[in-house]
C-alpha cells in the first residue's frame, strides 16, 4: 500500500468519525455539503484544538482522487481527529491491518483452492466410478417385421446368454435394455408367435430395434382362439391344414399344478367354436414339425 492509499483510508476514517457526531449523514465525500464542511471544521477544532480551512477540505478531502499527499501536519490533525496520535500511528496501524488482511486473504484463497481442489477430486472420482461401475446399456424396441407394430411383453421373452446361462431380460413398453459388459452381448428373443432370433449387441452397435418375423401358423392360431362363431367352417378347414395329425396340446392348470391333454381333433373342436374359456387361454410354446405344421402347443389356462 502506498502513502496515498493510506490517505484514502484516512479520509474514510474522518467520514466515520464525523458520522459518529452526525449520524444522519450517510453519504460520501462527494455528497459532503458546505454545511457538513462547516460542521467538520468545528468538530476538528473542538477535538484537536487545531484549525482546518474550508479550501483545504475542498482541495484534499472532497476530491475523489488525490495526486499528491497533503502536508504532514494536516495529516496529523486528521489522524488525531480520527483517534490516532498522528499520521505515523495511523499508517503503522493500518499497515498491520493491511498485512493481516492480505495474509488472511491469501490464506482464505489458499483454503478456497484446497476446498475447490478437494471438491474437484471428489467430482472426478464420482464420475470415474459412475462411469466405470455402471454398465453401458442399450435400449432395443421389439417390433413385428412385417407390420412394424410393437410387440406386447406377454407374447415374447428376451434373454441374454452369459457363460451358457440364460438370464431373462424384463420387457417394458415393448423395449429391452441390454447391459453391454463386453463386446459380445448375445440376446435371444423367443416367442410362440415369432421365429426365434439371436442377435449380438456391442458398444459400437447403433441398433435401436429388433424386428421379429411372425410365425404365420402361430398367428392364425392366436386369432382363432380370440374369434367369435363367425366363419367357423373356414376356421375348421384352416385348422386341419395348420395342425399336424400328431398334435399334442398341453393346457397347464393354475400354478402348474396339473395339465390337461388334447389331441388334434379335440383341440380343433375347441377352436372351431371358441368359448370364453378358450379366449382366456394364453399360448406359451409352439413347436412345428418339418413341414411347418404345428405339432406341439403349451397353453396356460
Amino acid at each position: 500500500m502506498t502513502e496515498l492509499d493510506f490517505f484514502q483510508l484516512l479520509k474514510q476514517e474522518v467520514l466515520l468519525t464525523y458520522q459518529k457526531q452526525y449520524p444522519y449523514f450517510q453519504g460520501n465525500w462527494k455528497s459532503f455539503s458546505s454545511q457538513d464542511i462547516q460542521n467538520l471544521i468545528e468538530l476538528v477544532e473542538e477535538k484537536t484544538r487545531q484549525g482546518i480551512s474550508e479550501k483545504w477540505i475542498y482541495t484534499h478531502l472532497k476530491a475523489e482522487t488525490n495526486s499528491k499527499l497533503p502536508r504532514k501536519d494536516m495529516l496529523d490533525i486528521l489522524s488525531q481527529f480520527s483517534g490516532f496520535s498522528g499520521w505515523d500511528e495511523f499508517v503503522f496501524k493500518n499497515r498491520e491491518v493491511a498485512v493481516e488482511q492480505k495474509e488472511n486473504h491469501s490464506q482464505k484463497n489458499k483454503r478456497h483452492f484446497v476446498v475447490i481442489g478437494f471438491l474437484a477430486v471428489i467430482m472426478v472420482a464420482i464420475l470415474f466410478f459412475a462411469y466405470s461401475g455402471k454398465k453401458q446399456t442399450q435400449k432395443l424396441q421389439l417390433k413385428n417385421e412385417f407390420t412394424n407394430d410393437t410387440i406386447q411383453a406377454k407374447e415374447v421373452k428376451a434373454y441374454t446368454i452369459e457363460d451358457d446361462k440364460k438370464i431373462e431380460i424384463p420387457i417394458r413398453n415393448s423395449e429391452i435394455e441390454v447391459a453391454l459388459k463386453d463386446e459380445n452381448a448375445k440376446v435371444v428373443i423367443q416367442s410362440p408367435y415369432y421365429k426365434k432370433q439371436e442377435i449380438k449387441v456391442n458398444k459400437t452397435s447403433e441398433k435401436t430395434e429388433i424386428l421379429l418375423q411372425p410365425d404365420d401358423y402361430a398367428m392364425m392360431l392366436k386369432a382363432f382362439m380370440k374369434s367369435d362363431i363367425k366363419d367357423w367352417e373356414t376356421r375348421k378347414i384352416q385348422l386341419n391344414k395348420i395342425l399336424s395329425d400328431n398334435l399334442e396340446v398341453i393346457v397347464m392348470l393354475k400354478n402348474d399344478l396339473g395339465a390337461e391333454y388334447f389331441n388334434k381333433n379335440e383341440f380343433s373342436e375347441k377352436l372351431v367354436i371358441p368359448t370364453e374359456s378358450v379366449k382366456r387361454m394364453q399360448i406359451l410354446e409352439i413347436k412345428n414339425n418339418d413341414e411347418g405344421k404345428i405339432e406341439f402347443i403349451r397353453i396356460k389356462q
Binding site: 362363431i229 367357423w232 367352417e233 375348421k236 399336424s244 395329425d245 400328431n246 398334435l247 399334442e248 393346457v251 392348470l253 393354475k254 400354478n255 399344478l257 396339473g258 390337461e260 391333454y261 389331441n263 388334434k264 379335440e266 373342436e269 375347441k270 372351431v272 367354436i273 368359448t275 370364453e276 374359456s277 389356462q301
Partner: protein, 175 residues
C-alpha cells in the same frame, strides 16, 4: 372230496380276482393320485367345462343357428360328456340323454346362466359340483339347483401315431 376242492378253488379264484379289481380301482382313484392343491386346480378347470357346456347350449338353442353349426355343436357338447350320460330335462326333471336334451332346447331361444359353482364331495373317480342354473326365455325365468358329477380318470389317448395315458375330465350325470 372233489366237490369241496372245487368250491375252495372257486372261492380262492374269486378272492384273488376281487383283490386285483380293488387294486385297479385304488390305482385309478383321484385321491390316491393327486394332492389336495392339485385336485383343486383340476376342480376349478372342470367348472370351466360346465360354463362351456351352457355357453354352447345357448348357441344351439338360438333360432338362427344353422343345422351345419348344430352338428358341429353336437360333436363339441358330446365331447364334454362321458359316454352314455343321462342329464336332467330342465323342464320335467326326467333323466334324458344329452342328445335328447339338445333336441328339446333346439330353436327355443333359451339363455343360460350358472353361478355359485362349488365342489361338494370327491368320490373314487368323480366329484360332484353344485350350482344354480337360471334359464330365461323371453320374459320367463326358471331357476334350478343342480348337482352334477364330473368324472376324472386316466384314459389312453391317441395323438396321431403316439398314444399315452392321460387323466381327462368329463361332465357326468345331473342329479
Amino acid at each position: 372230496m372233489i366237490k369241496y376242492f372245487t368250491v375252495i378253488l372257486f372261492l380262492f379264484y374269486n378272492c384273488t380276482f376281487a383283490q386285483e379289481a380293488n387294486h385297479a380301482i385304488a390305482a385309478n382313484s383321484i385321491k390316491t393320485n393327486f394332492s389336495v392343491k392339485a385336485l383343486e386346480a383340476y376342480e376349478e378347470n372342470s367348472f370351466s367345462k360346465l360354463e362351456d357346456f351352457y355357453e354352447l347350449l345357448e348357441i344351439y338353442s338360438a333360432k338362427n343357428t344353422p343345422n351345419t353349426l348344430k352338428k358341429q355343436l353336437e360333436e363339441r357338447i358330446n365331447a364334454l360328456y362321458k359316454e352314455n350320460t343321462l342329464v336332467s330335462d330342465f323342464f320335467t326333471s326326467d333323466k334324458i340323454s344329452v342328445d335328447r336334451l339338445l333336441e328339446k332346447v333346439a330353436s327355443k331361444e333359451l339363455k343360460f346362466e350358472i353361478k355359485n359353482i362349488q365342489k361338494v364331495k370327491t368320490f373314487g373317480n368323480y366329484w360332484t359340483a353344485s350350482y344354480i342354473l337360471t334359464i330365461q326365455r323371453d320374459t320367463e325365468t326358471l331357476q334350478k339347483n343342480i348337482s352334477q358329477r364330473i368324472y376324472f380318470y386316466p384314459e389312453a389317448k391317441t395323438f396321431g401315431n403316439k398314444k399315452k395315458e392321460v387323466w381327462s375330465l368329463f361332465l357326468g350325470e345331473m342329479e
